[in-house]
Symmetry: C2
Amino acid sequence: MAILYFCIENKTMEFKKIIEEKSDKAWKIYIPNLSIDCVVFGFQDASLKVLVTKIKENNFWALPGGYVLKTENINDAANRILKQRTGAENIYLQQFKVFSDLNRSESFFEEFDNTIWNKQRFLSIGFYALVDYSQVNLVVDDISDACEWKSIEELPQLMMDHRSIFDKALITLRKQLNYKPIGYNLLPEKFTMPELQKLYEIILGKKLNRGNFFRKMLRYDILIKLDESRKGGAHKSPDLYKFDTEKYEMALKEGFSEGW
Amino acid sequence: MAILYFCIENKTMEFKKIIEEKSDKAWKIYIPNLSIDCVVFGFQDASLKVLVTKIKENNFWALPGGYVLKTENINDAANRILKQRTGAENIYLQQFKVFSDLNRSESFFEEFDNTIWNKQRFLSIGFYALVDYSQVNLVVDDISDACEWKSIEELPQLMMDHRSIFDKALITLRKQLNYKPIGYNLLPEKFTMPELQKLYEIILGKKLNRGNFFRKMLRYDILIKLDESRKGGAHKSPDLYKFDTEKYEMALKEGFSEGW
DNA sequence: TCAAAAGTGTTGGCCCTACACCCATGC
DNA sequence: GCATGGGTGTAGGGCCAACACTTTTGA
């Protein structure tokens, strides 16, 4: 027991020291009172995953985040933050909402001095990201214990308002499915129609009709059918497709026609 | 000529003084490096208008804007800013994007001291607002000469990146027409179907089919047909409608069904 | 050979487009 | 009564849900 206590005590001291040391530097280089939080989606094992990190010291999980340098715009900041975490570049990133409630963050570092960077009020710009699961190498930084993919159905409790940031990101992503293509950043280069359908179903949280999905997808005219099929599984081998990157990019910009 | 020159010089001094005096207070009460800019839409004379203000001293027009108090969230801030400008409360407000380019604002106050509030780098949160034109009383504040409604087809040149903020607001508003009702905040209580159609056409910038608009609108099931019609114009008297506020609010929250 | 998954065909309904028609109104 | 604008009818097409049929595969 004594040893365990000592360990915790020790860790606390270490954590505090790290936070305090980082504080001075943060005040110098970052825009104050402003943070970025990222909801990073990945797709694996027919399940939608989100990247979360565990803060040292308390048992809360958090969305990966960071701050904006005084000399960079927020897209660059989000890219930098995610590159540090995942090693990945050219991630699909979308700004979706600013979270600004009072006390959304500042009560979280109660035991610290009022001048400490982390104890300030922060408004946070929410980004969501879509990344290829297989291309990511997670990095644990010096204020986190762990950095893991968690399935969206079994997210752990998140610190501060990170749960509502995640919720809003998912809602935004779902809405986006109505007028923009998706999948290029989440699927491997070659994929089958059932795999693509699975992705849609998991994002939307509901089953879709097979035949209709198939035809609607083809009508979007962003897929190229390959001369191969996925062998090895039981049953019929599904055809492989890839995205027509030019048409895909076009559709991302223009959006699929809809409405008025 | 001498008199004119003197006047300009005098105005410059006055403007500078105001900015400098306000600077100290601003540093105390506002969150630094963060501003709010509002694209306020109103509808009148079958034309969509936007609220713009003219900054004293230079001949640029600007979107109405302001800063976020250290003790308020951004929605409250936007509401406060617009109430000051228009006297209106309970305006429909929608946050749509953060503008964070380097040099989007700080180069605009070159002649001032570096410590001045206005010369800092600002990230700006863009809001758009929909208001009932007839209920607004415009207020000119102490750093602006004028505050006016301008038709969206003939907007004057705007300062900094305000033109792209406006563009993005209009694009967002158009997209919103696909899944949310509109009109409650822009039209008088009673209105005719052709008037509502006109609003849609002006926002979308294109003609719509009369009969189809009529039926689509009715299918949305947010209108109540009144037992009156708009007399006085030449030709057939169109029926008057009002919004079913309960169903309208519901549709605002849920959105019209679409897509997957 | 057989079960199951994947590809394809079919039918009915809804909404959208486009146009036509009729009705009400002020001149 | 006539021009004009506004309400309503309707035919054709596209998309979609739902379901059925066919093909392909591994066991």
